[in-house]
Symmetry: C2
C-alpha cells in the first residue's frame, strides 16, 4: 500500500511548489498586483490547478504567512528555555531573530503584517483560519514566556505579560511597516535594522524595574 502514501507526498509537494511560486510573485509584486495567472505560470501549472490546493488567493497568501510565523516560532524556541542567560539577553535574541527574518524576505514579512486585517480574515476557510490562530498564539506565547520570566525574576515591571508581549510584536510589525514605507516614500536607504535596534533598546530599558 505504498501508492497511497506516495500520492500523499506528491500532493504535499505540489502544494509546496505552488507556495514557492506564490512566494516569488507576491514578493516581487505585493498582494494586489500579483495575479493568479502569473503564479500559475511560475509554478508551471494552469490557474485552475491552484484552486484544487488553495481555496482562493487570500488563503494561498495566508499559507505563506503561516510558514513565516512557524519559522519565527521555531527560532524563538531555540533559546527561550535556556538557563544560562537572563530575560534581557533573551530580548536581545528575540530582536536578532526578528531582524534575521526581515532580512531573509522583507516583502513576505511585510505582507504578513498587512494580512492581519479584517477583510482578509473573512475570506479564509475555517481550517486555515484556525491554523493561523494557532500559529500566532504559538509565536506570541514564546514571546510571553520571555516577558514572564523577566517579571518573575524581578527584572521587569509588573505589567500583564500578554500586554507586554503584544507590545513587542506590535513594535516589530510597526517598525518594519513604517520604516519600509518611509523608505519608499523618500527613496532613502533601509533603516529597519537600526530602528529595530533602537526600539528594542528603548523597550528593554522601559521594561526594567527601577
Amino acid at each position: 500500500m505504498g501508492i497511497h502514501e506516495r500520492k500523499q507526498r506528491e500532493k504535499e509537494q505540489r502544494r509546496k511548489q505552488i507556495m514557492e511560486a506564490a512566494r516569488k510573485v507576491f514578493s516581487a509584486k505585493g498582494f494586489n498586483r500579483a495575479t493568479m495567472e502569473e503564479i500559475a505560470g511560475e509554478a508551471e501549472l494552469s490557474p485552475g490547478t491552484i484552486y484544487l490546493y488553495f481555496k482562493n488567493k487570500e488563503e494561498l497568501h495566508t499559507s505563506l504567512s503561516i510558514d513565516i510565523l512557524e519559522y519565527i516560532s521555531v527560532q524563538m524556541k531555540k533559546f527561550i528555555n535556556r538557563h544560562d542567560i537572563n530575560a534581557e539577553q533573551k530580548m536581545h535574541l528575540l530582536k536578532d531573530t526578528f531582524i534575521d527574518v526581515y532580512e531573509y524576505d522583507p516583502m513576505v514579512l511585510i505582507n504578513l503584517f498587512h494580512l492581519q486585517s479584517g477583510e482578509t480574515l473573512t475570506n479564509l476557510s475555517a481550517e486555515v483560519l484556525e491554523e493561523l490562530k494557532q500559529t500566532s498564539a504559538d509565536a506570541l506565547s514564546a514571546i510571553t514566556s520571555v516577558v514572564t520570566e523577566g517579571i518573575e525574576r524581578g527584572l521587569f515591571v509588573e505589567k500583564h505579560p500578554v500586554a507586554l508581549a503584544d507590545i513587542i510584536w506590535a513594535t516589530y510589525s510597526g517598525v518594519v511597516l513604517w520604516v519600509d514605507s518611509k523608505r519608499l516614500l523618500n527613496n532613502e536607504k533601509d533603516f529597519v535594522k537600526q530602528t529595530l535596534d533602537t526600539a528594542f533598546e528603548i523597550m528593554v530599558n522601559g521594561f526594567k524595574r527601577k
Copy 2:
C-alpha cells in the same frame, strides 16, 4: 466674477461629498471589498464621475488618509509649543491624540496604516504622492519636536530624534494593527486603548535618561 469662485466651491464640495461616501464604504468594507459602484451610489453619482475627481481607487483612499494625517497634525500642533508642560507630559498628550483618532474612526485609521505600502504608492499621481509625503513629514516633525525638546532638556536619552519619532509612530501603528487583528482573530474585546496606554508608559520610561 463670483461665478468662477462659486464653481470652484461646488467642485470642492463635490470632492468632499465623494470622500465622505468613500469614508463610509471603506470603513464598512475595507479597501478591497469596497466597490467604486457602491461609493458612487452612496454619493448619489455615477461611477464615472468619481474619476473626474480622483485618478483611481487608491488615490481616493489615500486622500482620506491624508485628511486623517492632517487632523492628527493639527491636534498635535495645539500643544507641542506649550511652555507650561514638559516633554513627558507632551508624550502623554500625543498618546491621547492617537487614542482619540483611533476611537473616531478605527477602520479608516487601520486602512491608513495598511495602505502606505509599495504597491499602493506606485498608483498615485505625482501631486497626491507629494501631498502624502508632505503631510507625513509634517506629522512626524511634530512628534520629533517633542522628542527633541526632551533630549535638549536632558530628560530623554541622547538618541537620534528622528529615530525616536519613527519609533513612536511605529508603535502607534503597530499596536493599532496588531491588537485590532487579534481582536478579530479571537473575538475578544477591543484592547487598543489599554495597550496603547501601556506601550506609551513603557516607551516614556525607556526614553528617560538614567
